[in-house]
Symmetry: C2
Subunit: 299 residues, 2 copies
Protein backbone atom coordinates (compact mmCIF):
# COMPACT_ATOMS: atom_id res chain seq x y z
CA UNK A 1 0.00 0.00 0.00
CA UNK A 2 1.05 3.59 -0.57
CA UNK A 3 3.76 5.03 1.69
CA UNK A 4 4.68 8.71 1.81
CA UNK A 5 7.62 10.43 3.49
CA UNK A 6 7.88 14.15 4.08
CA UNK A 7 11.28 15.34 5.25
CA UNK A 8 14.63 16.84 4.42
CA UNK A 9 16.82 16.21 1.42
CA UNK A 10 20.33 17.36 2.09
CA UNK A 11 23.86 17.51 0.77
CA UNK A 12 26.02 15.96 3.47
CA UNK A 13 29.71 16.30 4.15
CA UNK A 14 30.63 13.60 6.66
CA UNK A 15 33.85 12.62 8.40
CA UNK A 16 34.11 9.37 10.35
CA UNK A 17 37.16 7.35 11.44
CA UNK A 18 36.49 5.33 8.26
CA UNK A 19 36.54 8.07 5.67
CA UNK A 20 35.07 11.29 4.38
CA UNK A 21 32.44 12.15 1.78
CA UNK A 22 31.58 15.58 0.43
CA UNK A 23 28.25 17.02 -0.76
CA UNK A 24 26.76 13.55 -0.83
CA UNK A 25 23.04 12.83 -1.03
CA UNK A 26 21.57 12.87 2.49
CA UNK A 27 18.63 14.04 4.56
CA UNK A 28 15.96 12.27 6.54
CA UNK A 29 13.57 11.72 3.62
CA UNK A 30 16.41 10.33 1.50
CA UNK A 31 17.51 7.74 4.06
CA UNK A 32 13.92 6.84 4.86
CA UNK A 33 13.06 6.54 1.17
CA UNK A 34 16.06 4.40 0.25
CA UNK A 35 15.36 2.11 3.20
CA UNK A 36 11.60 1.78 2.71
CA UNK A 37 11.90 1.33 -1.05
CA UNK A 38 13.68 -1.96 -0.42
CA UNK A 39 10.27 -3.20 0.74
CA UNK A 40 7.60 -1.11 -1.01
CA UNK A 41 7.23 1.84 -3.43
CA UNK A 42 7.68 5.24 -1.76
CA UNK A 43 6.26 8.69 -2.42
CA UNK A 44 8.48 11.62 -1.55
CA UNK A 45 7.68 15.20 -0.58
CA UNK A 46 10.67 17.46 -0.08
CA UNK A 47 12.58 20.45 -1.38
CA UNK A 48 16.00 20.96 -2.90
CA UNK A 49 17.74 24.02 -4.26
CA UNK A 50 18.59 24.61 -7.90
CA UNK A 51 22.14 23.47 -7.08
CA UNK A 52 20.91 19.90 -6.49
CA UNK A 53 22.67 17.41 -8.81
CA UNK A 54 20.09 15.82 -11.16
CA UNK A 55 21.80 12.43 -10.89
CA UNK A 56 20.63 12.23 -7.26
CA UNK A 57 17.02 12.56 -8.44
CA UNK A 58 17.63 9.88 -11.05
CA UNK A 59 19.03 7.57 -8.36
CA UNK A 60 15.93 8.02 -6.20
CA UNK A 61 13.66 7.32 -9.16
CA UNK A 62 15.52 4.13 -10.02
CA UNK A 63 14.75 2.95 -6.49
CA UNK A 64 10.92 3.03 -6.80
CA UNK A 65 10.81 6.48 -5.18
CA UNK A 66 8.13 8.68 -6.74
CA UNK A 67 9.55 12.23 -6.88
CA UNK A 68 6.33 13.96 -8.01
CA UNK A 69 6.39 15.74 -4.67
CA UNK A 70 9.98 16.94 -4.97
CA UNK A 71 10.10 20.73 -5.30
CA UNK A 72 13.10 22.52 -6.74
CA UNK A 73 13.26 25.99 -5.19
CA UNK A 74 15.36 29.05 -5.90
CA UNK A 75 18.35 28.84 -3.52
CA UNK A 76 20.73 26.29 -2.05
CA UNK A 77 19.98 22.73 -0.94
CA UNK A 78 20.12 22.08 2.83
CA UNK A 79 23.80 21.31 3.62
CA UNK A 80 24.94 19.39 6.67
CA UNK A 81 28.55 18.92 7.67
CA UNK A 82 29.28 16.59 10.57
CA UNK A 83 31.98 14.53 12.18
CA UNK A 84 31.98 11.35 14.28
CA UNK A 85 34.81 10.25 16.51
CA UNK A 86 35.57 7.33 18.85
CA UNK A 87 32.59 5.04 19.17
CA UNK A 88 30.63 7.35 16.82
CA UNK A 89 27.74 7.51 19.29
CA UNK A 90 27.21 11.24 18.68
CA UNK A 91 27.67 13.49 15.66
CA UNK A 92 29.43 16.80 16.01
CA UNK A 93 27.69 19.22 13.64
CA UNK A 94 30.37 21.37 12.03
CA UNK A 95 28.15 23.37 9.71
CA UNK A 96 24.48 23.57 8.92
CA UNK A 97 22.27 26.03 7.01
CA UNK A 98 18.63 25.25 6.35
CA UNK A 99 18.53 27.19 3.04
CA UNK A 100 15.45 26.24 1.00
CA UNK A 101 14.37 23.68 3.65
CA UNK A 102 13.99 26.47 6.23
CA UNK A 103 11.06 28.10 4.44
CA UNK A 104 9.60 24.91 2.94
CA UNK A 105 5.82 24.72 3.19
CA UNK A 106 5.07 21.19 1.98
CA UNK A 107 2.09 20.72 -0.35
CA UNK A 108 0.77 17.22 -0.95
CA UNK A 109 0.32 16.71 -4.72
CA UNK A 110 -3.18 15.50 -5.75
CA UNK A 111 -1.61 12.22 -6.89
CA UNK A 112 -0.59 11.51 -3.28
CA UNK A 113 -3.90 12.34 -1.60
CA UNK A 114 -4.94 8.71 -1.30
CA UNK A 115 -1.83 7.82 0.72
CA UNK A 116 -2.58 5.64 3.75
CA UNK A 117 0.88 5.27 5.32
CA UNK A 118 2.80 8.41 6.16
CA UNK A 119 6.11 9.16 7.84
CA UNK A 120 6.62 12.72 9.03
CA UNK A 121 10.40 12.88 9.35
CA UNK A 122 12.00 15.22 11.87
CA UNK A 123 11.02 18.84 11.27
CA UNK A 124 8.98 21.66 12.76
CA UNK A 125 5.94 20.11 14.46
CA UNK A 126 3.90 23.01 13.03
CA UNK A 127 4.85 21.88 9.52
CA UNK A 128 4.35 18.20 10.46
CA UNK A 129 0.80 19.04 11.63
CA UNK A 130 0.10 20.99 8.44
CA UNK A 131 1.13 17.96 6.38
CA UNK A 132 -0.96 15.62 8.49
CA UNK A 133 -4.05 17.79 7.94
CA UNK A 134 -3.58 17.54 4.15
CA UNK A 135 -3.84 13.74 4.30
CA UNK A 136 -7.32 12.91 5.60
CA UNK A 137 -7.22 9.41 4.09
CA UNK A 138 -4.02 8.47 5.90
CA UNK A 139 -4.77 6.01 8.67
CA UNK A 140 -1.25 5.21 9.89
CA UNK A 141 0.82 8.33 10.40
CA UNK A 142 4.10 8.11 12.30
CA UNK A 143 6.32 11.05 13.20
CA UNK A 144 9.88 11.57 14.33
CA UNK A 145 11.22 14.60 16.21
CA UNK A 146 14.41 15.85 17.86
CA UNK A 147 15.72 17.66 20.95
CA UNK A 148 15.42 21.09 19.27
CA UNK A 149 11.61 20.82 18.99
CA UNK A 150 11.24 19.32 22.46
CA UNK A 151 13.01 22.42 23.78
CA UNK A 152 11.48 25.04 21.51
CA UNK A 153 8.00 23.86 20.56
CA UNK A 154 6.82 21.47 23.30
CA UNK A 155 3.13 22.46 23.04
CA UNK A 156 3.04 22.17 19.26
CA UNK A 157 4.79 18.80 19.59
CA UNK A 158 2.23 17.48 22.07
CA UNK A 159 -0.59 18.64 19.78
CA UNK A 160 1.10 16.73 16.95
CA UNK A 161 1.36 13.61 19.12
CA UNK A 162 -2.41 13.78 19.57
CA UNK A 163 -2.89 13.66 15.80
CA UNK A 164 -0.58 10.80 14.82
CA UNK A 165 -0.73 7.03 15.22
CA UNK A 166 2.88 6.52 16.20
CA UNK A 167 5.99 8.30 17.38
CA UNK A 168 9.58 7.23 16.74
CA UNK A 169 12.31 8.91 18.77
CA UNK A 170 15.59 8.08 20.42
CA UNK A 171 16.24 7.28 24.07
CA UNK A 172 17.73 10.67 24.95
CA UNK A 173 14.75 12.44 23.35
CA UNK A 174 12.25 10.21 25.15
CA UNK A 175 13.91 11.00 28.49
CA UNK A 176 14.12 14.71 27.69
CA UNK A 177 10.49 14.92 26.62
CA UNK A 178 9.08 13.16 29.66
CA UNK A 179 11.67 13.76 32.36
CA UNK A 180 11.51 9.99 33.07
CA UNK A 181 14.75 8.05 33.40
CA UNK A 182 13.32 4.58 32.89
CA UNK A 183 12.52 4.14 29.20
CA UNK A 184 9.38 2.07 29.79
CA UNK A 185 8.03 4.87 31.98
CA UNK A 186 8.95 7.44 29.32
CA UNK A 187 7.18 5.33 26.68
CA UNK A 188 4.05 5.09 28.84
CA UNK A 189 3.96 8.87 29.21
CA UNK A 190 4.32 9.40 25.48
CA UNK A 191 1.47 6.95 24.85
CA UNK A 192 -0.63 9.09 27.22
CA UNK A 193 -0.07 12.02 24.84
CA UNK A 194 -2.15 10.28 22.19
CA UNK A 195 -0.31 7.97 19.78
CA UNK A 196 -1.16 4.29 19.99
CA UNK A 197 2.44 3.33 19.37
CA UNK A 198 5.84 4.56 20.45
CA UNK A 199 9.20 3.24 19.32
CA UNK A 200 12.32 4.25 21.22
CA UNK A 201 15.55 3.85 19.27
CA UNK A 202 18.66 3.07 21.31
CA UNK A 203 21.34 3.04 18.60
CA UNK A 204 23.80 0.19 19.10
CA UNK A 205 21.53 -1.11 21.89
CA UNK A 206 18.55 -1.78 19.65
CA UNK A 207 15.00 -0.54 20.01
CA UNK A 208 11.85 -0.87 22.08
CA UNK A 209 8.28 -0.77 20.82
CA UNK A 210 5.36 -0.06 23.16
CA UNK A 211 1.69 0.06 22.38
CA UNK A 212 -1.53 -1.92 22.46
CA UNK A 213 -0.38 -3.49 25.73
CA UNK A 214 2.64 -4.95 23.96
CA UNK A 215 6.28 -4.26 24.84
CA UNK A 216 8.93 -5.58 22.47
CA UNK A 217 12.65 -4.98 22.94
CA UNK A 218 15.05 -6.10 20.25
CA UNK A 219 18.84 -5.80 20.24
CA UNK A 220 20.61 -4.15 17.34
CA UNK A 221 21.74 -6.58 14.66
CA UNK A 222 25.36 -7.21 15.65
CA UNK A 223 27.68 -5.78 13.06
CA UNK A 224 31.31 -4.94 13.67
CA UNK A 225 31.40 -3.00 10.42
CA UNK A 226 29.89 0.34 11.47
CA UNK A 227 31.34 3.05 9.24
CA UNK A 228 28.86 5.93 9.57
CA UNK A 229 25.77 6.22 11.80
CA UNK A 230 24.30 9.09 9.74
CA UNK A 231 20.72 8.30 8.76
CA UNK A 232 20.52 5.17 10.91
CA UNK A 233 17.33 6.37 12.63
CA UNK A 234 15.61 7.35 9.38
CA UNK A 235 16.66 4.07 7.76
CA UNK A 236 15.23 2.27 10.79
CA UNK A 237 11.94 4.14 10.36
CA UNK A 238 12.03 3.36 6.64
CA UNK A 239 12.41 -0.35 7.31
CA UNK A 240 9.56 -0.23 9.82
CA UNK A 241 7.09 1.75 7.72
CA UNK A 242 8.15 -0.03 4.53
CA UNK A 243 7.26 -3.38 6.04
CA UNK A 244 3.94 -2.12 7.45
CA UNK A 245 2.99 -0.57 4.10
CA UNK A 246 4.05 -3.70 2.19
CA UNK A 247 1.92 -6.03 4.31
CA UNK A 248 -0.80 -3.77 5.72
CA UNK A 249 -0.38 -5.77 8.91
CA UNK A 250 -0.62 -3.59 11.99
CA UNK A 251 -1.44 -6.40 14.41
CA UNK A 252 0.88 -6.95 17.37
CA UNK A 253 2.70 -9.60 15.31
CA UNK A 254 2.87 -7.29 12.30
CA UNK A 255 4.37 -4.45 14.34
CA UNK A 256 6.96 -6.81 15.82
CA UNK A 257 7.87 -8.13 12.40
CA UNK A 258 8.27 -4.54 11.16
CA UNK A 259 10.56 -3.81 14.14
CA UNK A 260 12.76 -6.67 12.95
CA UNK A 261 12.90 -5.24 9.43
CA UNK A 262 13.69 -1.80 10.86
CA UNK A 263 16.58 -3.22 12.87
CA UNK A 264 18.06 -5.10 9.97
CA UNK A 265 17.73 -2.25 7.46
CA UNK A 266 19.38 0.16 9.92
CA UNK A 267 22.26 -2.27 10.44
CA UNK A 268 22.91 -2.27 6.70
CA UNK A 269 22.65 1.52 6.45
CA UNK A 270 25.50 2.12 8.93
CA UNK A 271 27.92 -0.15 7.08
CA UNK A 272 28.75 2.45 4.42
CA UNK A 273 29.54 6.15 4.38
CA UNK A 274 26.44 8.24 3.70
CA UNK A 275 23.83 6.34 1.70
CA UNK A 276 26.40 4.05 0.05
CA UNK A 277 25.49 0.76 1.75
CA UNK A 278 21.75 1.45 1.65
CA UNK A 279 21.85 2.36 -2.03
CA UNK A 280 23.70 -0.87 -2.82
CA UNK A 281 21.41 -3.11 -0.74
CA UNK A 282 18.83 -5.42 -2.30
CA UNK A 283 15.62 -6.96 -0.90
CA UNK A 284 17.55 -10.28 -0.83
CA UNK A 285 20.18 -8.71 1.46
CA UNK A 286 17.40 -7.75 3.87
CA UNK A 287 15.86 -11.21 3.81
CA UNK A 288 19.19 -12.91 4.35
CA UNK A 289 20.16 -10.71 7.27
CA UNK A 290 16.69 -11.06 8.76
CA UNK A 291 17.01 -14.85 8.64
CA UNK A 292 20.23 -14.60 10.63
CA UNK A 293 18.66 -12.18 13.10
CA UNK A 294 15.67 -14.47 13.58
CA UNK A 295 17.93 -17.43 14.18
CA UNK A 296 20.04 -15.49 16.68
CA UNK A 297 16.92 -14.59 18.65
CA UNK A 298 15.37 -18.05 18.61
CA UNK A 299 15.90 -19.16 22.21
Amino acid sequence: MSLLVVGSIALDTIETPFGRIEDALGGSATYFGLAASLLTPVRLVGVVGNDFPPQHVEMLKRRRIDTTGLVVAEGGTFPWKGRYEGDMSAAETLEVALNVFGTFDPRIPPEYEDTRYVFLANGSPRVQRAVRSQLPQADFVVCDTMNYWIDNAPDELKALFGEVDGVVLNDAEARMLTGRDVLMDAAAEILDMGPGLVIIKKGEHGAMLCGDGQVVALPAYPTSDVKDPTGAGDSFAGGFMGRIAATGDRSAAGLKSALGYATVVASIAVEGLGTKALAAATPEDIDKRLDGFREMLAL
Copy 2:
Protein backbone atom coordinates in the same frame (compact mmCIF):
# COMPACT_ATOMS: atom_id res chain seq x y z
CA MET B 1 26.42 -31.24 37.33
CA SER B 2 28.34 -29.63 40.17
CA LEU B 3 28.64 -25.84 40.17
CA LEU B 4 30.92 -23.88 42.49
CA VAL B 5 31.10 -20.17 43.16
CA VAL B 6 33.95 -18.42 44.93
CA GLY B 7 33.30 -14.80 45.83
CA SER B 8 32.25 -12.26 48.40
CA ILE B 9 29.54 -12.53 51.02
CA ALA B 10 28.61 -9.12 52.33
CA LEU B 11 26.29 -7.17 54.53
CA ASP B 12 24.77 -4.49 52.31
CA THR B 13 23.16 -1.20 53.18
CA ILE B 14 21.43 0.06 50.06
CA GLU B 15 19.42 3.16 49.23
CA THR B 16 17.47 3.43 45.99
CA PRO B 17 14.55 5.70 45.00
CA PHE B 18 12.36 2.72 46.02
CA GLY B 19 13.57 2.16 49.55
CA ARG B 20 16.41 1.37 51.88
CA ILE B 21 17.71 -1.83 53.47
CA GLU B 22 20.33 -2.14 56.18
CA ASP B 23 22.92 -4.87 56.83
CA ALA B 24 21.13 -7.15 54.40
CA LEU B 25 22.63 -10.30 52.94
CA GLY B 26 24.66 -9.39 49.85
CA GLY B 27 27.90 -10.05 48.01
CA SER B 28 28.72 -11.52 44.62
CA ALA B 29 28.72 -15.17 45.73
CA THR B 30 25.35 -14.69 47.44
CA TYR B 31 23.61 -13.22 44.38
CA PHE B 32 25.25 -15.77 42.12
CA GLY B 33 24.30 -18.62 44.44
CA LEU B 34 20.67 -17.58 44.88
CA ALA B 35 20.31 -17.16 41.11
CA ALA B 36 22.05 -20.38 40.08
CA SER B 37 20.31 -22.45 42.75
CA LEU B 38 17.02 -21.80 40.94
CA LEU B 39 18.43 -24.11 38.26
CA THR B 40 20.94 -26.44 39.92
CA PRO B 41 22.57 -27.15 43.31
CA VAL B 42 25.41 -24.79 44.15
CA ARG B 43 28.62 -25.12 46.16
CA LEU B 44 29.85 -22.00 47.90
CA VAL B 45 33.31 -20.90 48.97
CA GLY B 46 33.50 -17.63 50.87
CA VAL B 47 34.23 -15.96 54.16
CA VAL B 48 32.17 -14.08 56.72
CA GLY B 49 33.03 -12.54 60.07
CA ASN B 50 31.78 -13.78 63.41
CA ASP B 51 29.17 -10.98 63.28
CA PHE B 52 27.38 -12.76 60.43
CA PRO B 53 23.75 -13.55 61.31
CA PRO B 54 23.24 -17.35 61.33
CA GLN B 55 19.78 -16.99 59.74
CA HIS B 56 21.51 -15.89 56.52
CA VAL B 57 23.41 -19.18 56.42
CA GLU B 58 20.19 -21.07 57.03
CA MET B 59 18.54 -19.22 54.15
CA LEU B 60 21.35 -20.17 51.77
CA LYS B 61 21.13 -23.81 52.87
CA ARG B 62 17.38 -23.90 52.28
CA ARG B 63 18.11 -22.86 48.70
CA ARG B 64 20.25 -25.89 47.74
CA ILE B 65 23.45 -23.94 48.45
CA ASP B 66 26.12 -26.15 50.01
CA THR B 67 27.93 -24.04 52.62
CA THR B 68 30.70 -26.56 53.42
CA GLY B 69 33.11 -24.02 51.94
CA LEU B 70 31.87 -21.10 54.04
CA VAL B 71 34.55 -19.97 56.46
CA VAL B 72 33.72 -17.96 59.58
CA ALA B 73 36.76 -15.84 60.44
CA GLU B 74 37.64 -13.66 63.39
CA GLY B 75 36.55 -10.12 62.48
CA GLY B 76 33.77 -8.30 60.66
CA THR B 77 31.88 -9.39 57.56
CA PHE B 78 32.56 -7.33 54.40
CA PRO B 79 30.14 -4.36 54.55
CA TRP B 80 29.03 -2.37 51.51
CA LYS B 81 26.97 0.78 51.67
CA GLY B 82 25.72 2.23 48.40
CA ARG B 83 23.17 4.52 46.88
CA TYR B 84 21.47 4.71 43.48
CA GLU B 85 19.74 7.76 42.07
CA GLY B 86 17.87 8.72 38.91
CA ASP B 87 17.96 5.92 36.35
CA MET B 88 20.05 3.85 38.82
CA SER B 89 22.62 3.12 36.13
CA ALA B 90 25.54 3.57 38.54
CA ALA B 91 25.98 2.93 42.26
CA GLU B 92 27.59 5.52 44.45
CA THR B 93 29.63 3.63 47.06
CA LEU B 94 29.20 5.43 50.37
CA GLU B 95 31.21 3.08 52.54
CA VAL B 96 33.20 -0.08 52.07
CA ALA B 97 35.67 -2.05 54.21
CA LEU B 98 36.95 -5.43 53.08
CA ASN B 99 37.39 -6.77 56.64
CA VAL B 100 37.73 -10.56 56.63
CA PHE B 101 37.29 -10.68 52.82
CA GLY B 102 40.46 -8.61 52.35
CA THR B 103 42.75 -11.33 53.68
CA PHE B 104 40.70 -14.31 52.52
CA ASP B 105 42.77 -17.06 50.99
CA PRO B 106 40.15 -19.46 49.64
CA ARG B 107 40.73 -23.20 50.14
CA ILE B 108 38.65 -25.66 48.18
CA PRO B 109 37.27 -28.33 50.56
CA PRO B 110 38.02 -31.93 49.52
CA GLU B 111 34.26 -32.46 49.00
CA TYR B 112 34.35 -29.86 46.19
CA GLU B 113 37.42 -31.15 44.34
CA ASP B 114 35.37 -32.93 41.69
CA THR B 115 33.59 -29.70 40.66
CA ARG B 116 33.38 -29.27 36.90
CA TYR B 117 31.65 -25.88 36.63
CA VAL B 118 33.20 -22.91 38.42
CA PHE B 119 32.42 -19.22 38.66
CA LEU B 120 35.21 -17.01 39.98
CA ALA B 121 33.28 -13.92 41.05
CA ASN B 122 34.97 -10.53 41.02
CA GLY B 123 38.04 -10.44 43.23
CA SER B 124 41.80 -10.22 43.05
CA PRO B 125 42.95 -12.03 39.89
CA ARG B 126 45.81 -13.46 41.96
CA VAL B 127 43.28 -15.12 44.27
CA GLN B 128 41.11 -16.15 41.31
CA ARG B 129 44.14 -17.89 39.75
CA ALA B 130 44.96 -19.59 43.03
CA VAL B 131 41.40 -20.98 43.18
CA ARG B 132 41.53 -22.10 39.57
CA SER B 133 44.74 -24.05 40.25
CA GLN B 134 43.03 -25.94 43.11
CA LEU B 135 40.38 -27.29 40.73
CA PRO B 136 42.16 -29.46 38.14
CA GLN B 137 38.96 -31.35 37.30
CA ALA B 138 37.03 -28.20 36.45
CA ASP B 139 36.50 -27.98 32.69
CA PHE B 140 34.32 -24.89 32.47
CA VAL B 141 35.65 -22.02 34.55
CA VAL B 142 34.25 -18.54 34.04
CA CYS B 143 35.48 -15.39 35.78
CA ASP B 144 34.22 -11.88 36.38
CA THR B 145 36.37 -8.83 37.13
CA MET B 146 36.03 -5.08 37.64
CA ASN B 147 37.66 -1.75 36.78
CA TYR B 148 39.86 -1.83 39.91
CA TRP B 149 41.72 -4.95 38.73
CA ILE B 150 41.95 -3.72 35.14
CA ASP B 151 43.72 -0.65 36.50
CA ASN B 152 45.80 -2.25 39.21
CA ALA B 153 46.58 -5.80 38.12
CA PRO B 154 46.36 -5.90 34.30
CA ASP B 155 49.11 -8.51 33.87
CA GLU B 156 47.70 -10.84 36.52
CA LEU B 157 44.28 -10.41 34.91
CA LYS B 158 45.58 -11.35 31.46
CA ALA B 159 47.30 -14.40 32.95
CA LEU B 160 43.97 -15.37 34.52
CA PHE B 161 42.19 -14.94 31.18
CA GLY B 162 44.62 -17.46 29.71
CA GLU B 163 43.56 -20.02 32.33
CA VAL B 164 39.75 -19.76 32.19
CA ASP B 165 37.15 -20.86 29.67
CA GLY B 166 35.01 -17.74 29.81
CA VAL B 167 34.98 -14.14 30.95
CA VAL B 168 31.92 -12.15 31.98
CA LEU B 169 32.30 -8.39 32.30
CA ASN B 170 30.33 -5.22 31.65
CA ASP B 171 30.57 -2.91 28.64
CA ALA B 172 32.56 -0.20 30.42
CA GLU B 173 35.06 -2.78 31.67
CA ALA B 174 35.40 -4.36 28.22
CA ARG B 175 36.16 -0.95 26.70
CA MET B 176 38.55 -0.05 29.50
CA LEU B 177 40.42 -3.34 29.25
CA THR B 178 40.91 -3.24 25.48
CA GLY B 179 40.77 0.46 24.64
CA ARG B 180 38.26 -0.46 21.90
CA ASP B 181 35.05 1.56 21.59
CA VAL B 182 33.09 -0.94 19.52
CA LEU B 183 32.01 -3.80 21.79
CA MET B 184 32.43 -6.49 19.13
CA ASP B 185 36.03 -5.36 18.65
CA ALA B 186 36.55 -5.36 22.43
CA ALA B 187 35.11 -8.88 22.63
CA ALA B 188 37.42 -10.09 19.85
CA GLU B 189 40.45 -8.72 21.72
CA ILE B 190 39.41 -10.42 24.94
CA LEU B 191 38.99 -13.72 23.09
CA ASP B 192 42.56 -13.26 21.84
CA MET B 193 43.69 -13.24 25.49
CA GLY B 194 42.67 -16.88 25.83
CA PRO B 195 39.10 -17.63 26.92
CA GLY B 196 36.89 -19.33 24.36
CA LEU B 197 33.91 -17.28 25.45
CA VAL B 198 33.27 -13.69 26.45
CA ILE B 199 29.98 -12.23 27.64
CA ILE B 200 29.60 -8.47 27.79
CA LYS B 201 26.80 -7.27 30.08
CA LYS B 202 25.12 -4.00 29.11
CA GLY B 203 22.68 -3.55 32.00
CA GLU B 204 19.29 -2.32 30.79
CA HIS B 205 20.52 -2.86 27.22
CA GLY B 206 20.98 -6.61 27.53
CA ALA B 207 24.06 -8.67 26.83
CA MET B 208 26.28 -9.98 24.07
CA LEU B 209 27.96 -13.37 23.91
CA CYS B 210 30.93 -14.01 21.60
CA GLY B 211 32.87 -17.19 21.07
CA ASP B 212 33.26 -20.21 18.83
CA GLY B 213 32.47 -17.97 15.86
CA GLN B 214 29.08 -17.17 17.33
CA VAL B 215 27.81 -13.70 18.24
CA VAL B 216 24.51 -13.48 20.12
CA ALA B 217 23.01 -10.21 21.31
CA LEU B 218 19.91 -10.28 23.49
CA PRO B 219 17.98 -7.35 24.90
CA ALA B 220 17.26 -7.13 28.60
CA TYR B 221 13.92 -8.60 29.59
CA PRO B 222 11.70 -5.50 29.66
CA THR B 223 10.61 -4.77 33.19
CA SER B 224 9.37 -1.40 34.40
CA ASP B 225 9.70 -2.58 37.97
CA VAL B 226 13.42 -2.04 38.59
CA LYS B 227 13.91 -1.33 42.29
CA ASP B 228 17.60 -2.09 42.89
CA PRO B 229 20.30 -3.07 40.38
CA THR B 230 22.64 -4.42 43.10
CA GLY B 231 23.76 -7.93 42.22
CA ALA B 232 22.23 -7.88 38.73
CA GLY B 233 25.51 -8.90 37.10
CA ASP B 234 26.15 -11.75 39.54
CA SER B 235 22.55 -12.94 39.23
CA PHE B 236 23.01 -12.87 35.46
CA ALA B 237 26.15 -14.99 35.79
CA GLY B 238 24.28 -17.31 38.17
CA GLY B 239 21.50 -17.82 35.64
CA PHE B 240 24.05 -18.50 32.91
CA MET B 241 26.25 -20.93 34.83
CA GLY B 242 23.25 -22.53 36.54
CA ARG B 243 21.74 -23.41 33.20
CA ILE B 244 25.03 -24.71 31.79
CA ALA B 245 25.64 -26.85 34.89
CA ALA B 246 22.05 -28.14 34.86
CA THR B 247 22.21 -29.29 31.24
CA GLY B 248 25.92 -29.81 30.59
CA ASP B 249 25.23 -28.32 27.18
CA ARG B 250 28.03 -26.03 26.04
CA SER B 251 27.17 -26.18 22.34
CA ALA B 252 26.40 -22.90 20.56
CA ALA B 253 22.69 -23.55 21.18
CA GLY B 254 23.34 -24.40 24.82
CA LEU B 255 25.30 -21.20 25.41
CA LYS B 256 22.54 -19.15 23.77
CA SER B 257 19.90 -20.84 25.89
CA ALA B 258 21.96 -20.10 29.00
CA LEU B 259 22.19 -16.45 27.94
CA GLY B 260 18.39 -16.38 27.89
CA TYR B 261 18.23 -17.83 31.41
CA ALA B 262 20.85 -15.31 32.57
CA THR B 263 18.80 -12.43 31.19
CA VAL B 264 15.57 -13.58 32.77
CA VAL B 265 17.09 -14.33 36.17
CA ALA B 266 18.77 -10.91 36.25
CA SER B 267 15.46 -9.22 35.40
CA ILE B 268 13.87 -10.87 38.43
CA ALA B 269 16.79 -9.99 40.70
CA VAL B 270 16.44 -6.24 40.10
CA GLU B 271 12.74 -6.19 40.99
CA GLY B 272 13.35 -6.24 44.74
CA LEU B 273 15.66 -4.48 47.15
CA GLY B 274 18.79 -6.53 47.85
CA THR B 275 18.20 -10.25 47.42
CA LYS B 276 14.48 -10.00 48.18
CA ALA B 277 13.07 -10.77 44.72
CA LEU B 278 15.67 -13.41 43.98
CA ALA B 279 15.10 -15.16 47.30
CA ALA B 280 11.35 -15.26 46.64
CA ALA B 281 11.65 -16.52 43.05
CA THR B 282 10.88 -20.11 42.05
CA PRO B 283 11.99 -22.22 39.08
CA GLU B 284 8.42 -21.80 37.75
CA ASP B 285 8.85 -18.00 37.78
CA ILE B 286 11.94 -18.41 35.62
CA ASP B 287 10.21 -20.72 33.17
CA LYS B 288 7.20 -18.46 32.86
CA ARG B 289 9.27 -15.34 32.26
CA LEU B 290 11.48 -17.21 29.82
CA ASP B 291 8.41 -18.26 27.82
CA GLY B 292 7.39 -14.61 27.51
CA PHE B 293 10.93 -13.62 26.55
CA ARG B 294 11.08 -16.32 23.89
CA GLU B 295 7.75 -15.23 22.48
CA MET B 296 8.82 -11.57 22.41
CA LEU B 297 11.93 -12.52 20.43
CA ALA B 298 10.19 -14.82 17.96
CA LEU B 299 10.22 -12.72 14.79
